[in-house]
Amino acid sequence: MLSKKLQFKSKKMPKFKSNINDKIINSLKAILGNQNVLTDYEDRYVYAYDATAIGEDLYLPDIVVLPENKEQICEIARIANENKIPIVTRAAGTNLVGGCIPLKGGIILHLSKMNKILNIDKDNLICTAQPGVAVGQLQQEVENVGLFYPPDPASLKVSTIGGSIAQSSGGPRGFKYGTTKDYVLGLEIVLSDGTLLKTGGTTVKNVTGYNLTQLFVGSEGTLGIIVEATLKLIPKPEEQQVMLAYFESMNQAAETITNIISAKITPATLDIMDKKTMETIENFHHTGLPTDMEAVLVIETDGFKESVKIQTRQIIDICNKFGAKNIKVSQNQQEADELWFARRSAFGAVARLRPNVLTEDAVVPRDKIPEFISKTREIFDKYNLTVCIMGHAGDGNIHPNVSLDLRNKEEAENFEKAAEELFDAAIELGGSLSGEHGIGMLKSGFMKKALDEASIKYMKEIKKLFDPKDILNPGKIFHE
């Protein structure tokens, strides 16, 4: 009796979260081929997540599709728009703000099969790529012909061109070379109604009308689907040199940063890690970092051989002048890799402390870094949370990595409170919510803190203009 009742009940449960139905699924199969349309519960389950630690919450997509070309994406968008079905675009799913999480079900557009570099033009210093190409792979291929694509998000081995444009990603080299936004010359975008829009072009100079290209950079999949990108390249620097400088106080490290910048030296990278980060890395990887120092600066200079030599000497002088206890300078590529290894192991080391790790992202004016770091420590200490503080000091971009277990309700709640206080502190110091990860679902609630009403109003108007039915990554950036 009971089981019959249950059966009845389960039959009445809606099969899909969105307006999708079997007829639509069949037309998607006709466009993409059966093998590129996933509907099994188990297949969809793994697409309910990206790299954001969201605990046990489950936002299941109704269907996952793997297009192989932009024409297919146009057709998918047309069907989705007609039927008001959400589309969440995703490639490597390395997002840290829940950007790829399908909050309202619908379609996951997985771009793993659109992973080809279409062209590298050595004469015009540009390249064209599909959105699913990994940033690291593109860098490798252009470096093979003596060129350089500088944006270097930490996840570059897997994170993709499409994703990094959608999130306007940065990385350590942002200080000297800028971030993804500075390298996008032109885009091909599928709009919510299935129109293929071409913005920008192949030239570095281009002021023909509004700069639509930049409107889509950092739009987090809410305005259109990036299906092809033309990127600016630069000649590969002749040489690189890495150094680590250790300090007994955060203030000395901060003063050193300020003085390097005011001496008009522009290192490619000017990163900082705090004591807890060094301790944690040493705990797991034994890279030779001292654990009795308060801060370490990771500085990379690059350029022509002679210029690297001069910059390095000047930086060493400044480090010494402002109290560096020890300085290590790489003498060859292998040593450079070893020094970078310590910095790059930071996330992994924090990940081994406790089951979950949340990488926060806030930005403050450069001169406010010591104040912001001590404030960060204070906040997380207050809530009894383990935090390792690291970041791109040259950009004022700080990443507190919080190690915790989200199954512990108290810890999870404490984290939310601490995160809010962290953003309040950043904004109070003249900074903002995000340097390079974006807003997504995690920070949408804080937008009002960082932006004035008019900005938010016009942003929403733009969203409405491009996506009147709100099908593209709904529920992101703006809080409902």
Binding site: L38, D40, Y41, E42, D43, Y45, V46, Y47, A48, Y49, D50, A51, T52, A53, E56, L58, V64, L66, A92, G93, T94, H110, S112, K113, N115, A134, G136, S155, K157, V158, F347, G348, A351, R352, P355, N356, V357, R407
Partner: protein
């Protein structure tokens, strides 16, 4: 299936390991199956998501999950890369074990595993193969290959595994007799399909003054049973093999990467009374190339091999046994050799035990990529040290219509010695 005797680690024992996957997704950059399919379920992050769902009760451990668990080569490439240091290979084997209890193992896999379990059946196979070889049907079938299309490629693949490079010949030792007690574990392929490598191992050892014994009752090493989750069979095979080995052994030499890697697993799968011995033996297992590279072996001055050679790292040798320099060092000592490193030498060949049977399309795609990297070096010979990889490499090379031959480095040394004695 028999009642289980032992308490193997099950999925619940890995609850914390599975949960601590940060979902950073870095495993995508090295996973050959992800690269071939583009599916999130193919990569370790996706599998941990599914297994976490199974553990916390959100997902039922059904056949669909079992199917996704099949999508792993066990190559361990993601382990080196994982910030949280999670061993997907070990966890997936345990999950397959659990799945097998719930969902069964499938007819074809069961048939293959049953054959490996029985020396009698393998013996019958040998008789059949010997018949095939002596009647030279393989020569006839080569003619037919052209007309058979896809099936022809399988015949070519089959024949390629039977070609014997080295026939055994008693060689004159050049070094004094060593006191070391050496047991040689030849493995199924050497015993039942193609003994060329076994002949070479014995010849090279004898020439250098080492005497190796081969106990009569060795069975299959059990690697396929373990990775399929058939822990019961694996432990039976493990216990038998351990029992064949005298306590005073100094080295257990293997030439196949997979046969060498299992000894590290044995201690976790045998009865309490054998655990200590299993642990000691695990420390004494050594790949033939490492054994030779660590010693000053004889390289004849008047014999050379003027060939371009590249080397493929078996997963079970590089990532499981940390042996990768040694085979290269051996090759580079051979006079006349032009050694060329291929791109992605340590990426899986695609065979991965029963994977090539259960997922033929993905397996072939991975093998084809490997073959292209081999062909790009313009090598005449590709060397490796694994019976499984030999299948993966042949599969890819045949697909690309390449005639590059596959050797174990030890076969080349044996060939040098034969030339030397001529």
């Amino acid at each position: 299936m028999n009642e289980e005797k032992k308490n193997y680690k099950n999925l619940k024992d890995y609850t914390e390991e599975v949960y601590k996957c940060t979902k950073c997704g870095l495993c995508q950059s090295v996973c050959p199956v992800y690269k071939a399919t583009g599916l999130e379920t193919a990569v370790s992050r996706g599998k941990f998501t599914l297994l976490n769902g199974v553990i916390n009760g959100k997902l039922k451990f059904n056949k669909k999950i079992a199917k996704n668990l099949e999508l792993c080569l066990g190559c361990k490439a993601c382990y080196d890369f994982c910030p949280s240091g999670i061993s997907a290979e070990e966890i997936i084997a345990a999950a397959r074990h659990e799945s097998l209890k719930i969902n069964g193992i499938g007819f074809i896999k069961q048939f293959i595993l049953d054959n490996f379990k029985s020396n009698f059946r393998l013996g019958l196979l040998k008789i059949g193969l010997d018949f095939y070889k002596t009647l030279q049907i393989n020569k006839i079938s080569e003619f037919l290959v052209k007309f058979l299309g896809k099936a022809g490629k399988y015949i070519t693949l089959f024949n390629s595994q039977l070609r014997e490079h080295i026939k055994y010949k008693k060689l004159k030792p050049v070094k004094p007799q060593s006191e070391l007690n050496i047991v040689y574990f030849p493995g199924c392929i050497n015993n039942y399909v193609n003994s060329s490598i076994k002949n070479s191992v014995l010849m090279v050892l004898e020439k250098n003054g080492f005497k190796a014994v081969i106990p009569e009752n060795f069975t299959c090493c059990g690697i396929a049973a373990r990775s399929s989750g058939d822990f019961q069979s694996f432990s039976e095979l493990a216990e038998n093999n351990i029992n064949q080995i005298p306590n005073n052994v100094d080295y257990i030499i293997t030439d196949c990467a997979s046969c060498g890697s299992v000894w590290e697993f044995y201690p976790d799968f045998v009865s309490q009374n054998l655990v200590d011995k299993a642990k000691i033996l695990a420390g004494k297992t050594i790949n033939i190339n490492k054994f030779l590279a660590e010693r000053e072996i004889y390289f004849p001055e008047n014999a050379e091999i003027s060939k371009k050679i590249t080397y493929h790292d078996p997963c079970h040798l590089k990532r499981f046994q940390k042996v990768f320099e040694e085979p290269r060092n051996i090759l580079k000592q051979i006079q006349g050799i032009d050694f060329r490193e291929m791109k992605d030498a340590d990426v899986c060949c695609g065979a991965a035990g029963t994977f090539c049977v259960s997922q033929p399309e993905i397996s072939q795609a991975i093998s084809a990529k490997k073959a292209q990297n081999i062909i790009d070096t313009k090598a005449d010979i590709v060397c490796t040290s694994c019976a499984g990889c030999k299948i993966g490499l042949s599969q890819g090379l045949i697909e690309k219509n390449s005639t590059i031959s596959i050797y174990n480095p030890v076969e080349l040394i044996a060939e040098l010695y034969l030339t030397d004695e001529k």
